[in-house]
Symmetry: C2
Subunit: 312 residues, 2 copies
């Protein structure tokens, strides 16, 4: 194979109560990465589109490049690689933009080399890439983008990542204000300690959320989508957060919270109609405020990355 | 009906990672309460057996009496009631002794009066009774004893209690040293704050535990049975805790931790054979140490309280 182009999906994470443990792949947006064999050793990024000129062509400063290099090193491969990165989703949006690029690159390089690693084994490289972006190798975006579906990161040490079966009719409505949140900073404002009482509230909701998902109990999912720890701290960073949330909950959202460190706000909904109605209402708040934004409606992406085309 | 005698089961709670949210009813031990109509107004305790003389006959200082009075007041019933309390389980054991007495009394009084309340509506009275014992109205023992099965207290405000479906082959081995832990004190030594990092570890395990239970995935249950917050603080109160735990894990226990505030230590096991082997090994540690103890082996009690006999 000479070249291959791969799509890897965006992901909503935390999903209200599940800070650092829940993630879910979306059908769109997502990033596309093309990798091509070259005779010249090393990894080079030769083209980046859709980033407004903000991403680096330096392989060590771009998550697609970092991920590709990590994998080649691990495989002890001397294969020269060219990368073209097509950003089809916003940077710093809380939807796992960096993870999507890394996962697309990893999937593409692995495929190009004849799939020496099973998909799941690419995860540590995507996580290592996240260190570059946020200061630590969180797995939620990376695992959701790589594996697809609704992800539970049960444990980091040792790494234990599960896919939870979820109702087919679960949709996401996501609204993203055209603002950027620094992921590192959004972590730093979190308090290092939480009240035990609040932690107990949170773990009741987490247990309820998992039960609701596995039993397709939408009402229970809705009751459990309540984050008393992270959302209250990060909400002030997000434009009009509580107005958007209120609009989502009044218009078909089972629950609504910040995706990752924002600014994206997601609502989980039963069925496409509710997702459309919630998405419109959420976007409506930003319309009124004169704030540029995007609205995405998406079912859960159960498949993860997709090979778009290959040249043999 | 003139009188009725009810059995209400003991319960293991917290179940490692689920402090204040997980509880599970056992088939035994448990308490028996007989209630009888009398012409004399008010609630009187006329007999207590099995408590070694330690429980009060004062209706306001005995959980069976408190619970019965609360229910009668709620029902605005003037019916005079006599109570006989047969303690068939140890006090202060971490197995919900006070809750079992309260639940047996509530179930008996409600039954005696023609079941004016559905079973689930007795829970708030059992919780109110717990305030007397531990300083706050926790629901885990009370709900497990009253409803049977594996209980998730999803939320306290508003109260939202669920029964989780669990594998049929799940057994408990419980060892109780003949020592008593003051429940109030065991709460007070808990730190009011926990590290966010540890809280994340805990909620990953909680989500894993629920997933394991609902999917009958014993290996996942086992991996998830890890409490990094409460167990380390309370372990020093429990005689030879880590030796007992280690013995359980080496002899068929999926996981092992303190039930409630102890001293009871439980292991969850796949199948009776493993429970027997874990129970023997756990008891063996106390045998060696010359420490009096009891070992209970029990399947999950899915039914909750049981009417033992009634006199019409």
């Amino acid at each position: 194979m000479k070249e291959v182009k791969v799509f890897a999906p965006a992901s909503a994470v935390n999903l209200s109560c599940g800070f650092d443990i829940f993630g879910c792949a979306l059908k769109f947006p997502g990033d596309e990465v093309l990798v091509r064999r070259t005779d010249q050793a090393g990894v080079r990024i030769i083209k980046i589109e859709g980033d407004g000129g903000r991403l680096s062509y330096d392989t060590d400063e771009n998550t697609a490049g970092i991920a590709a290099s990590l994998l080649l090193n691990h495989l002890q491969s001397e294969q020269g690689i060219e990368i073209e990165l097509y950003k089809k989703m916003p940077l710093g949006s809380g939807l796992g933009s960096s993870a999507a690029s890394a996962v697309a690159a990893l999937t593409a390089v692995n495929h190009l080399l004849g799939s020496p690693l099973p998909r799941r084994e690419l995860l540590p490289f995507a996580m290592e890439t996240e260190i570059f972006v946020s200061g630590w190798g969180h797995a939620d975006n990376a695992a959701a983008s790589l594996l697809g579906g609704f992800i539970l990161v049960r444990s980091y040490e040792p790494l234990d990542v599960l896919q939870l079966s979820v109702p087919d009719d679960l949709y996401f409505a996501v609204v993203r204000a055209h603002a950027e949140i620094n992921t590192k900073k959004a972590r730093e404002i979190l308090k290092p300690d939480v009240e035990l009482k609040k932690a107990v509230v949170q773990w009741g909701n987490i247990a309820g959320m998992v039960t609701g998902l596995l039993n397709s109990d939408y009402d229970l999912i809705s009751r459990s989508m309540n984050d008393v720890i992270v959302e209250p701290v990060r909400a002030p960073l997000i434009p009009h957060f509580y107005d958007v949330k209120s609009a989502a909950l009044k218009n078909g959202g089972l629950g609504c919270s910040i995706s990752g460190s924002g600014p994206s706000i997601f609502a989980m909904c039963k069925g496409e109609k509710n997702a459309r109605s919630a998405g419109q209402a959420m976007g409506g708040i930003y319309d009124k405020a004169g704030l540029e934004h995007d609205v995405y409606l998406s079912q859960i992406n159960k498949n993860g990355p997709e090979i778009l085309n290959e040249v043999l």
